[in-house]
């Protein structure tokens, strides 16, 4: 486990040495900033409307739900677009640089390697999303008021969503040395999974219901409303474990060839 952390630290710092890493970081921070700005505009609009209609205390839970719910849903989409770019490097880069040979000959188990890669992705992702808390502080400082609890639930949802997406991306990157293919394939699969929710919502069939349950969006939505349901947490954990297991099988596959 300590070795996994060592591996992860190497990857995270190499992300920040690369233009791509810095670019992803900047784009996410900017996109989140714009989304926050829109929230503020909406907030101002609503509170002015409320004041005109004579309501005194609309802030609090309902406001939080109303405003931040859509914010987290939008951030989820940004994550969907950026995750393939974060995860594409994981194994593909090692394969391309042919440094896998090195890792395989160090005293590391395949498990250490897969967990290390996954940790590095989550680590980088956490570094992406947590600075955006600064926007919330700014919002509060400017006089906005909201409940922290539901917002933190939203962050938890975002983190779980990112982890699930990253585990899928990690698996895809273990299959190819080509980062472009890795990113595109991950993006395609994520879009498919994401849209299952909406598509299957149209049909009225038990199978459609079941397929809808596969979509991360179904499970992510409640977090955006500020609700932490253990069932949904379990879904994301299982999702991650499944793809970590698959990645491990791919890495171990070199042992069966021939």
């Amino acid at each position: 486990m300590i070795k996994s952390i060592v591996l992860a630290r190497k990857d995270v710092s190499s992300n920040f040495y690369s233009w791509l890493g810095i670019l992803i970081f900047s784009v996410f921070f900017l996109a989140a900033g714009i989304l926050f700005a829109l929230v503020v505009v909406k907030y101002v609009g609503i509170s002015m409307e409320a004041a005109r209609n004579g309501y005194q205390n609309v802030e609090g839970l309902i406001m939080t739900h109303f405003i931040f719910g859509s914010l987290f849903a939008d951030l989820g989409l940004v994550v969907l677009c950026l995750v393939p770019l974060v995860s594409m490097r994981a194994f593909s880069e090692e394969r391309k640089q042919q440094t896998m040979e090195l890792l395989f000959t160090y005293p590391l188990s395949d498990f250490d390697i897969v967990v290390g890669k996954f940790l590095s992705l989550i680590w980088f992702f956490a570094l992406l999303i947590f600075p955006t808390l600064g926007y919330l502080y700014l919002f509060q400082w400017l006089g906005g008021s909201f409940e922290w609890g539901p917002v933190l639930a939203g962050y938890l949802g975002l983190l779980l969503l990112g982890a699930a997406f990253l585990s899928l991306g990690l698996f895809i990157s273990s299959l190819t040395a080509n980062q472009v293919i890795s990113a595109l394939l991950t993006f395609g699969l994520l879009v498919l999974l994401w849209s299952l929710e909406g598509l299957m919502g149209l049909a009225n069939d038990p199978w459609a219901r079941w397929l809808q349950q596969i979509s991360p969006l179904t499970h992510f939505r409640e977090f955006t409303f500020g609700i932490v349901d253990l069932g949904h947490v379990a879904y994301f954990v299982f999702f991650c474990l499944y793809f970590l297991f698959m990645s491990l099988r791919v890495i171990e596959a070199r042992n069966w060839k021939g």
């Binding site: 300590i2 070795k3 060592v6 591996l7 190497k10 190499s14 040495y17 690369s18 640089q97 042919q98 440094t99 040979e101 090195l102 395989f104 000959t105 160090y106 005293p107 590391l108 188990s109 070199r254 042992n255 060839k257 021939g258």
Partner: protein, 339 residues
């Protein structure tokens, strides 16, 4: 030649030294290709073994199996007392491996990378800094410690390869083509370093450059098409082959008499493999093989004098390792084509 004589070690590991590396009937198949076929050997602590063979003979495959990169299709490998693919983390701690490609993380700094390796190899944090400094010093890397690996020359990458392999002080060092792509000065430095390392560790290196083997190795294994076709010390291999025949070089000074000279050679008893090596102006040089135990030089010079052909040079040569190698590999190929 002087370097060879100085370099070749007569040291043989003490018989009671523990066996550090053992391969038992190891084969590796890639699809239908047999990259390695029933290879067995064992190496005692402190011995230096050279894998020799043309490109694609199976040296790198053997190296990669020993390094733990992939397991063999059949057979077993022990490093120290641990079976490599059963107790692999334990076994891999005893191995330092320098891959041929020398691909390291290009965006890391030299010292940063070595620190990473030291952590992966569980070097205790108290001594880690000193440990890394020592390896940097040892491998001649101090001046590039803060440079990005991606910007290092091949010579420095080779040194870095050795340094990362030495981290954790492994008992067994595996060097795949350690002098590939280096300039002559760098080759000399690296060989010097390898020789030093070989004094205290069990070392296996692969190469297709012959003098390298005779310079640094106690034992040689010659690979061809995945099989070990000969094994022994460089001297043993040499004398084994010289038992049958030896080579004579003749240089004459009149190219118009070439056919006369050839007639003389062909008329000699037991001589074969007569070839014209070079024609330069009037000088023509020949090479021929004579059966062991005969001395043909006086006969040849006498015949040349009698026929009034200017003889400039005549000497018998020991078969070089290069010729042994070529002969073994060629014989192998001929034997395979015959049936």
């Amino acid at each position: 030649m002087a370097e060879m004589a100085e370099g070749r070690k007569t040291r043989v590991a003490e018989p009671e030294a523990p066996v550090m590396v053992r391969m038992e009937c190891v084969s590796k198949k890639f699809g239908s290709l047999r990259a390695l076929d029933q290879v067995s050997f064992s190496l005692r602590k402190g011995e230096v073994l050279g894998f020799l063979g043309p490109n694609g003979a199976g040296k790198t495959t053997a190296m990669r199996i020993l390094s733990g990169y992939f397991p063999p299709t059949e057979g077993r490998v022990w490093i120290g007392g641990d079976e490599l693919f059963k107790n692999s983390e334990q076994a891999k701690k005893r191995i330092g491996y320098v891959p041929e490609a020398l691909n390291f993380y290009g965006d890391m700094r030299v010292s940063e990378f070595l620190d990473f390796v030291a952590q992966i190899k569980s070097v205790p944090s108290k001594i880690r800094h000193a440990h890394i400094e020592e390896k940097i010093e040892r491998c001649g890397l101090p001046e590039v410690g803060h440079r990005l690996i991606g910007q290092l020359s091949r010579g420095f990458r080779q040194r870095l390869g050795l340094a990362q392999a030495l981290i954790g002080d492994p008992d067994v060092l595996l060097l795949d083509e350690p002098t590939g792509g280096l300039d002559p000065k760098q080759i000399k430095e690296i060989r010097h370093l390898i020789r030093e390392l070989g004094r205290e560790r069990t070392l296996i290196l692969s190469t297709h450059i012959l003098p390298e083997v005779s310079m640094v190795c106690d034992k040689v294994m010659i690979f061809n098409q995945g099989r070990v076709v000969a094994t022994g010390t460089a001297d043993e291999l040499e004398s084994g082959l010289r038992r049958e025949r030896y080579e004579i070089f003749v240089v004459m000074g009149d190219r118009h008499r070439k056919d006369d000279a050839l007639a003389i050679f062909h008329a000699l008893p037991g001589v074969d493999g007569v070839t014209v090596l070079e024609e330069q102006g009037d000088r023509v040089s020949f090479s021929l093989f004579a059966p062991r135990g005969t001395e043909l030089r006086p006969v040849i010079s006498k015949l040349f004098v009698e026929q009034n052909i200017p003889l400039l040079e005549i000497r018998a040569s020991k078969l070089s390792l290069e010729q042994i190698f070529l002969k073994i590999v060629l014989d192998e190929q001929m034997a395979q084509q015959e049936p």
